[in-house]
Symmetry: C2
DNA sequence: AAATCTATTGACACAAATAGAATAGTATGC
DNA sequence: GCATACTATTCTATTTGTGTCAATAGATTT
């Protein structure tokens, strides 16, 4: 019954290493875009934010990788932090104009999928 | 702006070949389980059903592969149709007891993700 | 100066997705 | 009775995504 590939969360474990359904990682991109629209942040902060959103199982390197990928696509831009308070230099990411456009498309996707999921849940019960 | 990898639907195209967000395919498994709980069906019928559910961009081979994978895991079982009405022999899939259990886990996942998505949408607007 | 915390990157193995071709039976029109 | 179109499923090659772990590295605490 436990599953590897598409695996869903089996043991509630909160730290990355616990498995998650493919759904969780599917909304990582829009989640990051939304957080960056609210305000520019650096990766490490975003890590904490997505935990708050209930996506605690996602591994940090996945988040960093996604951020760099989105920068490559021009959805976000980053600069090295100047007044660094602690630790090594860190990238501050911010949403670009193109990123805002992409976010609108993502909003439609999320709405569409919200409907799909609620339709499915209705069908389980009724 | 168009995207390949995680790509989302760019041009509303209804036939497979049109792109979809990773979200769409993430709910293929539970969707199939739900449909098979309602009644046993064969792959080709399921293809049509998931189209009705709004997941029209998923390629047939993905559906067939997923069905066989779920059979390997013991979630569904198939038999060759006896009174075949048209075309070549076809597999009738049906949900197993284990499949019902898995579906319950999936229901929780869907509910959890429904909440995540509605939280995200709230954050976009407000 | 060693350990610990903050912060990011790189690399590798493996799982999954896409598209398209291959296979194959059935029904219809000519 | 043969070509064409439709139903139905499987296989394979290529690409992309995911998970995990190690590496790097500055800052702070002991």
């Amino acid at each position: 019954m436990p599953r590897h590939g598409r695996g869903w969360l089996m043991g509630e474990g909160s730290n990355y290493g616990g498995h998650h359904s493919p759904l969780t990682i599917s909304i990582l991109e829009p989640a990051l875009l939304i957080l960056l629209k609210e305000q520019p942040r650096h990766g490490y902060t975003l890590l904490g934010e997505i935990e708050t959103l209930g996506m605690s199982t996602i591994h940090p390197s996945v988040v960093y990788r996604t951020l760099r990928e989105m920068e490559r696509l021009g959805w976000v831009q980053s600069d090295w932090d100047i007044d660094q308070t602690q630790g090594p230099p860190r990238r501050i990411y911010r949403l670009t104009g193109q990123g805002e456009e992409v976010l609108q498309i993502w909003r439609c996707e999320l709405e569409k999928n919200q409907k799909m999921i609620s339709d499915l849940l209705k069908r389980i019960n009724g």
